[in-house]
């Protein structure tokens, strides 16, 4: 199995120090990502879902080393990305690209979209002038734009078209893994469907793997093969899509699933969570979810549950599962 793992994340942590006062005294850490382990196989879409502030974007950025990890390993085909030097890291970035949430903020307004798409080719010194122009035209057609639009600036495009440009740019250097950070959450529903279909098509055509980050479980359910649920910097549950949606074991996953509005309301009792996601600066002791949990046990506030494999490929971090009390 090892050889099929494109990305293997082991106990990854990203803490942001918090300082206060005149001497910038260190008063604590925001544990944005706090010991996360998972892997992404080749040609696989791993969905990562969680509420705002749970650390899902930081996790995506830390994997690409856009943020320096505090500790832990990110293995790409066995090489630890966290330990690479600048030059090796640049080589490796050919394999991994990112699509960002807000296409307005992620495209340079002063560059033509053609130049934006071409930039990765220039940085990695791929092809000559003519080949690059051809490649840009080819990419634009692949994502459903017209090659003639390469000379236009981002403001001439709609939100959906800008996101297509972002996708073309990520595809430019034939990566194997794309980290998609909320790629459709800024788009209208009719446009969202176009972009999701496009991302599915290119995933199949180029055999890509995605780490697909989203807060919308309906979108995750549509896209992913396996799903990881994150809460306050940790993975609460990870399983294959059918398993997670049919047999959620973590109470948080259960509540999330029941909260999603649907055009076909289930008539099932809704589990209403109370309160907000706590601050990652001062998370509750024990299981971070226990103050909001509807199935809380006395041990939940004392001991933090470990992520354990309950059945083949189904991982849960919950005391209910250690106790065998499901």
């Amino acid at each position: 199995m090892m050889s099929h793992e494109l990305l293997d994340v082991r106990d990854l942590k990203k803490y942001y120090p918090v300082t206060a006062g005149f001497l910038s005294r260190h008063i604590g850490d925001i544990k944005a990502v706090d010991g996360v382990s998972f892997h992404v196989r080749e040609h696989e879409i791993l969905g990562l879902v969680g509420e705002s502030g749970c650390g899902k974007s930081t996790l995506g950025r830390t994997i690409l080393r856009l943020e320096e990890p505090t500790s832990g390993e990110v293995l790409h085909r066995g090489t630890d990305i966290a330990k690479l030097g600048k030059r090796e890291l640049r080589e490796l970035r050919k394999e991994m690209q990112i699509i960002l949430q807000d296409p307005d903020a992620s495209l340079d307004p002063r560059m033509t979209v053609g130049d934006s798409i071409c930039e990765p080719l220039t940085i990695h010194n791929i092809g000559d002038e003519k080949e690059r122009t051809e490649r840009v035209a080819e990419l634009m057609e692949q994502v459903g734009l017209e090659a003639a639009q390469a000379t236009h600036h981002p403001h001439e495009f709609s939100g959906g078209q800008k996101q297509r440009v972002g996708i073309a740019r990520a595809l430019a250097i034939n990566p194997k893994l794309i980290i998609a950070d909320e790629p459709v959450s800024a788009l209208d529903v009719s446009i969202q469907a176009q972009i999701l279909n496009l991302m599915m098509d290119i995933q199949q055509e180029f055999g890509l793997a995605y780490l697909f980050i989203a807060h919308d479980l309906s979108v995750i359910k549509h896209m992913a093969h396996r799903v990881a649920v994150m809460y306050l910097g940790k993975i609460a549950e990870l399983a294959s899509k059918p398993e997670l949606f049919q047999n959620p074991l973590h109470p948080y996953t259960e509540a999330l699933l029941s909260a999603v509005p649907s055009v076909k309301p289930k008539g099932k009792e809704r589990i209403l969570l109370h309160g907000d996601v706590p601050s990652p600066l001062n998370p509750p002791p024990g299981c971070h979810f226990h103050p909001r949990c509807h199935r809380v046990l006395p041990s939940c506030s004392r001991k933090e549950p470990e992520l354990a494999e309950i059945s083949q490929g189904h991982f849960v971090a919950c005391h209910l599962c250690d106790a065998g009390d499901l």
Binding site: E51, S52, S158, G160, Q161, D188, V189, S190, I191, Q192, A193, Q194, L196, N197, M200, H215, D216, L217, S218, V219, K221, H222, F245, A255, L256, L257, S258, A259, V260, P261, S262, V263, K264, P265, K266, R270, L272, L273, H274, G275, D276, V277
Partner: protein, 325 residues
């Protein structure tokens, strides 16, 4: 009881245009609907379709210039709100018809505490002592399910989470016990677990206070959860209105059907989403004829030539599409 007396707000052929240097933006260009007592009516559409401008027009909150209500009627309680004076409108706004604005962060004043903002509203409309107003604010926040109300009252907006701000805004809109509440995308910027909490609050308002709600959203799944009837708006016009179960179960307009098809849904699995090609049209340059025709999968010759008239499929179901003529 006959159906008419049950109508609390009736909007007829509302047109709100903005006169800009680049041309006339027809943000709302012929919207009709009626709100019945105690129901939740959803206005559904994508960004730029005119749903927020419709709400602002009802309350007389369109900036003029550049905007102006060029035609139509907003009938509330024997008054045509379009023709009311600014003074009359001030009496109605907030007191009879209240609004929960989009984006709680920018709708709240950042330099006043939440408590002060709620109390301010009450003092404008009601003869109330400060203490009485304060107690009412506290009980409203409690009704919204706010824990530690005293703390929230004395907090500034930036100290509160998104869900908490949204609750404070809803509490604020309820201070004068309005007849009608217009909520503009109240669940859009919040997380799914908070969204479920907010939807519950609106359900309660309807059940316990018999409030008449106009709920503006782009999310058909939310409509299915909360709405009684829905009006689908495209290019500044309502193209279909019907009870929610009919809108979702048997949509008649290709745009409505497209919107439902392109929604990934948690309760079913599809390999590929249906999608609507192209982009939403700009209200400054709406297509000729039916404004949806360039994106429509069932387009006919007549669609680009003539605007479809609104026809009634049944008493409760109206649609504007040549397919049904």
């Amino acid at each position: 009881m006959n159906a008419m007396s049950n109508v609390i707000l009736k909007i007829t052929n509302l047109k709100t245009h903005f006169f800009t240097r680049r041309g006339v933006v027809k943000a709302v260009d012929g919207v009709d609907f009626e709100l019945r007592r105690g129901e939740c009516l959803c206005l559904v559409g994508e960004s730029g379709c005119g749903k927020t401008v419709t709400a602002l027009s009802i309350l007389g909150l369109i900036d003029s210039p550049p905007g102006r209500i060029v035609d139509g009627e907003v009938r509330y309680d024997n008054l045509d709100l379009v023709k009311c004076s600014a003074r009359q409108l001030r009496q109605i706004r907030g007191k009879e018809i209240a609004m929960v604005f989009q984006e709680a962060q920018s709708a709240l004043n950042p330099v006043l505490t939440v408590g002060d903002q709620i109390i301010e509203q009450m003092k404008i409309h009601l003869p109330m002592e400060h203490r009485e107003a304060r107690n009412r604010a506290l009980s409203l926040l409690e009704e919204m399910g706010v824990p530690s109300v005293e703390r929230v009252m004395s907090s500034y907006p930036h100290q509160l989470s998104g869900g908490m701000k949204q609750r404070a805004l809803i509490a604020m809109s309820l201070t004068c016990d309005p007849q009608i509440l217009i909520a503009d995308e109240p669940t859009t910027a919040v997380d799914v677990t908070i969204k479920a909490q907010i939807l519950d609050i609106f359900r309660d308002l309807k059940a316990k206070r018999q409030m008449s709600l106009v709920f503006i959203t782009h999310d058909l799944a939310v409509v299915a959860e909360i709405g009684d009837r829905a009006v689908v708006i495209y290019g500044g016009k309502n193209i279909e209105s019907a009870p929610v179960s009919e809108i979702i179960g048997s949509p008649k307009h290709p745009y409505t059907a497209g919107l439902i098809g392109c929604l990934p849904d948690i309760s079913q699995t599809t390999d590929r989403l249906a999608s609507i090609p192209g982009n939403t049209p700009s209200p400054i340059d709406l297509p000729q004829g039916c404004s949806f025709h360039p994106r429509c999968s069932k387009v006919m010759e007549v669609c680009s030539q003539r605007e479809p008239a609104q026809i009634a499929i049944s008493q409760e179901h109206q649609v504007s599409c040549h397919l049904n003529q």
